[in-house]
């Protein structure tokens, strides 16, 4: 289940002009990629394009799973600024919806375990509308841990440390490190400083 990512002359346009000069990169399993850039440099756009949520204006993005080309929807999990959770539903309902769309049958145990790892197991049956920003973020991050086996999906994290307290940031750094060790690719953008132990480290500067 080795993940790989190839970028060839990837460009993204917004409002008729290119956001950054073409990116070419080959990223292998177990790599942490730090997407760096000023405000408006196109970090979010790039991550969304990598997640298959937007089209690149030129070039090619190719995800590989075990050497074969795979669609972004199979190869990645994306957590952006928004939490992708409906306020009226409970954390458990939101997460099982996400899991079902990702092609997994209802597995409350796995969801419970994911929530437990982020320390929000007790919130499973609370409605998202009643949670604090930090709790929501943690619950949203639990979506990353719903993958089939550790390391089977690339994580695309847009500003994951926003709204997290110091302890939770440490926890997330630990989770990312574990995932990388299991063979995942993690791409993240952040304005906060962080420290993640990683076998390989690359930077994409926009």
């Amino acid at each position: 289940m080795a993940l790989s990512l190839q970028l060839r002359d990837v460009q993204i346009e917004r409002g008729g002009r290119s956001l950054f000069s073409p990116i070419t990169a080959t990223i292998g399993a177990g790599t942490l990629v730090y997407v760096r850039g000023a405000n408006g440099a196109g970090k979010t756009s790039l991550l969304r394009a990598l997640a298959g949520l937007a089209a690149s204006s030129a070039g090619e993005i190719r995800w590989g799973v075990s050497g074969e080309t795979a669609s972004a929807s199979v190869a990645t999990s994306f957590v952006g600024h928004a939490n992708a959770m409906n306020d009226a539903l409970t954390v458990l309902e939101n997460l099982s919806y996400a899991a079902a769309l990702a092609g997994q049958a209802y597995q409350p145990v796995r969801i419970g375990h994911a929530l437990d790892q982020l320390g929000v197991f007790k919130l499973a049956l609370r409605r998202v509308g009643t949670l604090s920003q930090g709790q929501r973020k943690r619950a949203a991050l639990a979506r990353l841990l719903l993958r089939e086996t550790p390391g089977s999906r690339a994580w695309l994290l847009d500003e994951p440390f926003v709204a997290l307290d110091v302890d939770t940031q440490k926890l997330l750094e630990q989770l990312i490190a574990n995932e990388l060790r299991a063979g995942a690719i993690v791409l993240l953008s952040s304005h906060q400083s962080f420290s993640i132990a990683s076998p390989q480290l690359t930077e994409i500067a926009l």
């Binding site: 346009e13 917004r14 409002g15 008729g16 089209a55 204006s57 030129a58």
Partner: protein, 254 residues
């Protein structure tokens, strides 16, 4: 997902038509077409109106009021044809990803809407003396009205996006949805109310006096030429707007 222009460009490399699919290359061509269009529109309109008003006799049924036909029917035809052309360029744009196709579609819409308005207005003024009412909810008037709504929707949608590219593709999609629905709407409105005169012009057997028909066909070509010219003018304006950063546009302004 629509292909980007560059990708399609690779695919069509070397084909002659591709050269003109770029706005910069088409700009001078559009200018030439526009000039021919204005010339034809004015010439044909003069000839058509001369025949229509000074050569064609009074209609036995309707008296002089029938002379509205020389603008009413061409306007109604153009309103429909322009919508089809719009849908065609929209589809081309979505499939090939060419910017010019979307611009063509945008350039056509306002003229098409104006044609629909003219058809409705002249239809109302014609209807009062002949049918006894300005407006009847009959099949053709109603479907022209709906066609006008479709134009309005298209233009409103195109205008509501700040991102031009997004607006292009969104409005192209709605133009296609509209084009698919137009026959159905037409059929349903027909079903609902069939009270209108049968079409007087049919290929092969026409029941109109040939001189009236001649005048009307000449006027139709005049309208056609006018619409092409107006659309080309608008297209050129759009090219200038959208390519205002490009060097060749700057040189054009100098």
């Amino acid at each position: 997902m629509a292909r980007t222009e560059q990708q399609s460009n690779d695919r069509f490399q070397g084909r002659w038509f591709w050269r003109y699919a770029s706005p910069a290359a088409f700009y001078p061509v559009a200018g030439r077409i526009e000039k021919i269009g204005w010339f034809l529109a004015i010439t044909l309109a003069i000839i058509g109106l001369y025949i229509g008003f000074f050569r064609a006799p009074t209609d036995a049924q309707q008296g002089e009021v029938y002379r509205v036909i020389y603008i009413h029917v061409p306007a109604a035809w153009m309103a429909m044809i322009i919508y089809l052309a719009m849908a065609f360029w929209s589809a081309t744009g979505l499939v090939l990803g060419t910017r010019l196709s979307f611009m063509m579609s945008h350039a056509l819409a306002p003229t098409g809407a104006i044609m629909a308005v003219i058809a409705l207005w002249t239809g109302a003024l014609w209807g009062r003396p002949t049918w006894g009412t300005y407006w009847v909810w009959d099949a053709r008037l109603t479907s022209t009205l709906i066609l006008f709504f479709l134009y309005v929707g298209y233009m409103a949608l195109a205008a509501s996006f700040d991102d031009k590219k997004k607006g292009d593709r969104a409005s192209a999609l709605i133009a296609l949805v509209g084009a698919v629905n137009v026959p159905i709407i037409y059929f349903s409105v027909n079903w609902w109310n069939t009270l209108h005169q049968g079409s007087s012009v049919r290929p092969g057997s026409s029941s109109m006096a040939s001189i009236m028909l001649t005048a009307m066909l000449i006027m139709t070509f005049a309208f056609w030429a006018y619409c092409v010219a107006a659309a080309m003018h608008r297209l050129r304006t759009q090219i200038i707007e959208r390519e205002s950063g490009a060097q060749w546009v700057k040189e054009l302004v100098k």
